[in-house]
Symmetry: C2
């Protein structure tokens, strides 16, 4: 069982931006931290901006930062926004040739399990999984903000 | 989010065998019902025999049937046996290059959600999702067994 790489990367981008706080971070920097290609991250960041999780600033000194506080970013909601579908088995999406697709009882059971999965994620926000600047080898904040 | 096709097919094979009851069914027949390739189903049936869910009978009149009653086949257990891993995100399996893999809090949250998923499936057995012979366009049983 897998989430898409897209959801995986989206969660990582949000975690990094949460730790950076108000500072704008770049795709290059995030790509280096996680060992992920720039091209993949560009798509992820664009979707997260469109979904209102990140704000983007254009230009040479541009980058992105969280558009809400970490406590306002629910992990279940993020995964719902980033997964293209929750088709646990083939017949959820494709016009498949299965003889019993009209009466099958398996989708209801799998969807109940999926609901339990998402409801568990709904209990957590980005704040719950946020890391420190030291975890990311990020430069420490100036003394005035050092309690962050 | 996806289960592997392997788990999908395993659940379907078990559902078909449950409906067939004591009659031996063949891979050809199962492949036709679900529109799945024989080659895929052969691997699935072999694993289900090895895991003790099916019993196989060799020879011209051979085939397979459930090795336990449908009520004894728990869906959570089947999925645990057929999924190759539950690596929801990349860093669960690959020696990835992520800088924070030692301190990241995301795996614990995702594993809690996965646990909720499997615990929900644990509440169901093959009996709960079994279909009738009519659902599969299967020949009806002789009158004496028609209450099945």
């Amino acid at each position: 069982m897998r989430l898409t790489a897209f959801s995986d990367y989206a969660l990582r981008v949000l975690m990094y931006a949460a730790t950076a706080g108000d500072r704008l971070v770049t795709i290059e920097e995030t790509a280096r931290v996680y060992g992920i290609s720039r091209a993949h991250l560009m798509k992820v960041v664009n979707i997260l901006i469109r979904a209102g999780y990140l704000r983007g600033v254009r230009g040479r000194a541009g980058g992105f930062a969280l558009a809400r506080t970490p406590a306002e970013i629910n992990l279940g909601e993020v995964v719902r926004a980033t997964e293209p579908d929750f088709a646990l088995v083939e017949c959820f999406i494709s016009a498949d040739r299965c003889l019993v697709s009209n009466c099958c009882k398996l989708p209801a059971v799998l969807n109940e399990a999926l609901h339990s999965f998402l409801v568990t994620l709904d209990r957590y926000t980005l704040e719950d999984i946020a890391l420190t600047r030291r975890d990311f080898d990020m430069a420490p904040l100036p003394a005035a903000d050092a309690d962050k």
